[in-house]
Amino acid sequence: MQIITCPYCGAGCRAYVKKELSRPFMIEYVTDINVPNDFGKLCPKGNAMFEHMISKERLKVPLKAIEEGKFVKISWKDAINEIASFIRSYMKDDPNKLMFLAGGKVSNESAYLFQKFARNIGTNNIDNTSHFCHGVSVKAILDSNFERNWATYEEIEESNLIVIWGANLAETFPLIFRRVLKAKSKGAKIIVIDPRKTKTTKFASAHLRPFPGTDIALINALINLLMERRNAKSVLFTASDLEIIGKYSPEYAEKLTGIPAGDIEKIAREIILAEKGNILWGSGIAMYSNGYDVIRSVITLASMANFKILPLAGQNNSQGVTDMGIMPDLLPGYRTYDDIDFFKKAWKNDELSDEIGLDIAKSIKEAQKGNISAFYIMGANIAVSFPEAEKALKSTEFVIVQDIFPTQTTELADIILPAATFFESDGSTTNVERRIQWSPRVKWPPKDAKPDWAILCELATAVGLEGFGFYFPEEILHEISTLVPQYANADPRTLTRTPEGIIWNMGSSSQPTKVYTSDRMPSFEPPVMITVRYVGQFQTGTMTNRSPSLKARWQNLPILISEEDASKWGIKDDDRVRLVSENGEYIGTVKVSKTILPGTIKAPWHNGANRIMSLRIDEETGLPQMKACSCTIEKVE
């Protein structure tokens, strides 16, 4: 039996396939070897992981738009030639007018080829959709030299204090939550920091409810209390750091966050007493405009208490695409552009650019100004997941979308390339504990659909680039293992024979942790809308809405509002409401809930609530505000 990786979230769960290359595709639980999902258990998405693949709606042939929304079939040859001639026309003079976007769901091999393709064309305008959640977390960890304390799942089980910050594990990562519960049964304390009461907080020994965006005040207050109570010699703060921290007494933090000062002191005491602690955080703190600052501060807190950390990623290969250098400012293996000569030599191309390229948010902005001529989107539905993306794609001359299903993004494409799903191609992915896992092909792609890496090889050869003569993904993985130091152990020969996967290869860094403090805080006028996720839906629902058993159970996800706000606004259960922000509106059905913090509104992000977020990029941090936004609520008659 082949062992495959689940194509949904970043936990990287594994399952056996009972039958290969023919129907019915049944899975079996992996109970005999050490896999990320303890005892082979799976969440509902994992249980339904094959359903989307056999859907009849798959894209099967290359399509070309004759007008917006109307497509005709074309041959692969024509599609490749058309794209190649367009790219060639920009390659010489103005490669920076091209923008390359990859989803966090492509395999490491496809991701590596994608950035190799873009960079060999001469542009660093390349980004992945996980940039503002997991990308920010990873960058913060590497910048503070803290990767040695990056936890594995087993270490979660062994810890005796677990802090879950800005994540609803029971809903988004049930299999990581299992590890937390196992630790709890051994006596560990669980602290959850989340404005909403969730299924996760039911199991917590303490629950703090900061107002959205004020997490940094809570962290600073905790650092302040830790400094007072313990010898903070190992951590070297500068005078300016101390000045910032000194301001944040528990009482001041109470004023900003709304958490009672006594609770903050209690949590600080728990952190001091814990021997083995673990901080897990999710997009709840990373996707703010001050996300980088918050995470650096969390890491500072973790380094003071010597805790382990684990950033949580939403997509199955968020970690991998970041490792592979699908970032505008980082080359594969987190090399900066100072190391560009290494890649000039490796790729035999002297014309690589060493300017930092555009990230997603900036490219969407630039496209609306007419500074982007083409988007190449591989496996991402940005028209639903990013604000203003629809406008940007409409004002772009040429849009290439490579996907498995027709989505709102493919509607706006000029050329659609049918891709193979994750199970229809061999490939490796990396989960959030940095375990690299190989997943073999278990089905042939339908009709003319091809794996992402194969399309890229063909296209790059048509453009006239060298070094894309790959026939198997194993060859690409071999190249990755020679160029990316973290993947040095993951050569194809070993990886394909190791069903348990291989953990990142890390040099033992003896450099001290760099501390960082900040008091940058976004401010919101209530009511604040926050996006939330549900266990049976995934991202924009491209895959989950094509899985019958998931679609039937998770439909019409409600907008949650608190009882106080409901009586204030005169809204009751099942009312249709419209959330209006400066950027657009979102319509949904209301559910009045006791779990919501007054002044906040929770909208399910699977149906495009993200579109009404503001894409205004914070000038100091360079990050947009993608988790929360102020909005008004009105009834729809």
Binding site: R178, K197, T595
Partner: protein, 165 residues
């Protein structure tokens, strides 16, 4: 007594893994259902395979029987689809499938038990809220849980009172 699926409601996170796994193993029809009784309080419920099963007693076609593993199952070729079993069942678990015109209910994954595996819902449950065990085993688990609680209490008291251990 044979093994049954027991549910530890305290551990349930309402993820519906059991439903989706059951649907996969039973051709798209889930025989275990999860009900959110009030906010953040979930209960999954399946056939209890009663010792004195009313569904078996009322079935006019004698289509319900108890297999060697103790599961109450439907002989599909004999079922006439009269729905008496769901009326008689205090939990209303047997469900009518209109395409096949028969009743369907939990069979404790007979095909998986034949291979020596646990039912799909139990194998997949991420928090071990579903337990496949006999009544005696469940009692033992409960007793052990209570004993550890008492032990903790004793230790605490000794700490405060300055005991010897």
């Amino acid at each position: 007594m044979e093994k049954r699926v027991f549910i530890d409601f305290r551990n349930c996170i309402g993820c519906r893994s059991c439903e989706v796994a059951c649907a996969r193993e039973h051709h798209g029809k889930a025989n275990i259902t999860l009900i959110e009784t009030s906010e953040l309080l979930m209960m999954s419920f399946n056939c209890r395979h009663c010792e004195n099963a009313p569904c078996m007693l009322v079935c006019p076609a004698r289509a319900l029987y108890r297999d060697e593993g103790g599961a109450v199952r439907v002989k599909y070729q004999e079922c006439i689809g009269c729905m008496f079993c769901s009326i008689a069942c205090p939990f209303g678990t047997p469900e009518f499938v209109s395409e096949l015109k028969i009743m369907m209910k939990c069979d404790l994954c007979s095909h998986r038990r034949d291979e020596g595996k646990l039912p799909a819902c139990v194998t997949t449950c991420p928090t071990d809220a579903l337990i496949f065990a006999s009544e005696e085993e469940i009692l033992q688990i409960k007793v052990r849980q209570n004993l550890t609680k008492i032990e903790e209490l004793v230790k605490k008291v000794e700490k405060i009172m300055g005991g010897t251990t």
